[in-house]
Amino acid sequence: MITVVREPEGREQTFEHVHTVHKLLNKLGARPGAVLVIRGAELLTQDRRIEDGELIIVRKVRSSG
């Protein structure tokens, strides 16, 4: 199971059997250039693997106001 925090909302979600960033973005319905996918101090491109137990931040890129 991976844990995902959506920013800026701060909403937390968990996912089973999602092991690439590409799959995660599909589940979230997010376009790759519209969000940063953050693990620790690192940005993850679509092809990267993600593992059970990891915390991933998905941060919206668009600013408003």
Binding site: E7, P8, R31, P32, G33, A34, L36, I38, E42, L43, L44, T45, Q46, D47, R48, R59, V61, R62, S63, S64, G65
Partner: protein, 304 residues
């Protein structure tokens, strides 16, 4: 995915440029895009004293860091608007950012000048973002003139610029089309204005801000619905997805082949600028628009 330059694992994929980079190589790419913008549009010279408009968002903070890294003499300018929920956060973030990185900062507090945006919104029957934008531009100009800065830099990015161009184009607004561009020369008492991030999209700026460890404001302005051409940005995004590079081609093509025609048409009709009798800002008609709003708010404190 590997970095195109050094073959380390890539962290930033850029389909518009058909490439991907590791953080260090991405920083080089990012600074080169700015250098190219600066060179192509004669934005800055090494002697410039640059006033950088800092909203607290990722674009403006990234711009400040990048210009400093490129060796420019930069000072930040933050306009604090008195908007509940977002202005305090923005001000705190900008103040901490400048303190941590040793940047000089000027702050203009519009409520202290009789122009708290919620009050302006309550009193005027015009879309608040248009008025707010006018007020911000006014104080950017005044701060640049009063502080003796040669140029004012803003963090407008490729998405902002193409969305604005698209909006101006579907309305075929000749004045706006003549005046839009990443570099506006000093004229009639206004400082030169430049947008060094115009070749870089929101995604690139967000990546740069994150990888540089910048804390930026994310609380949206409560009045921001429909602001900054959200719908137009979404349309252009769809276009970019289908044909990567479409946005920069649209914008660069306009600068090279579209704008000259509108400039020629509008030059003849432009009215001369005069100094505002109240605040000294250059304006078509004295008193300037912002001084008229201030007077209105001061005279009719209870009117709705």
């Amino acid at each position: 995915m590997k970095c195109r330059r050094c073959k380390e694992p890539a962290q930033v994929a850029l389909p518009s440029h058909n490439t991907a980079f590791c953080p260090d190589c991405f920083f080089l790419f990012y600074l080169r895009q700015i250098e190219r913008a600066v060179k192509d549009h004669a934005m800055l010279v090494p002697e410039d004293r640059v006033l950088v408009a800092l909203s607290g968002g990722k674009d403006s903070l990234a711009l400040m860091v990048a210009l400093a890294e490129l060796g420019y003499d930069v000072t930040g300018l933050h306009i604090s608007l008195g908007i509940p929920g977002s202005s305090d956060e923005a001000r705190r973030i900008v103040t901490e950012f400048c303190a941590q990185r040793g940047f000089a900062l000027e702050i203009v507090d519009t409520p202290a000048l009789g122009l708290a945006i919620p009050e302006v919104k309550a009193r005027l029957r015009r879309p608040i973002c248009a008025v707010c934008g006018k007020i911000k531009r006014h104080y950017f100009n005044l701060a640049a003139i009063e502080g003796g800065y040669s140029v004012l830099a803003t963090g407008h990015n490729l998405d902002d610029e193409t969305a604005r161009l698209f909006a101006n184009t579907i309305r075929w607004d000749p004045d706006y089309l003549a005046g839009q561009g990443p570099s506006l020369p000093a004229a009639g008492g206004f400082p030169r204005k430049v947008k060094p991030l115009y070749r870089l999209g929101e995604y690139e700026n967000a990546c740069f801000a994150f990888l540089k460890g910048l804390t930026y404001a994310t609380t949206p302005c409560p009045y921001s619905q429909g602001a900054s051409f959200t719908g137009h940005k979404a349309l252009l995004e769809t276009l970019e997805l289908r044909s990567p590079g479409a946005k920069i081609a649209f914008y660069d093509g306009f600068l090279a082949r579209g704008r000259p025609a509108f400039e020629a048409r509008c030059a003849a009709a432009s009215r001369p600028l005069v100094p505002c009798a109240r605040c000294g800002a250059p304006t078509n008609e004295s008193p300037c628009g912002v001084c008229r709003i201030r007077a209105l708010l001061a005279e009719t404190p209870d009117a709705v």
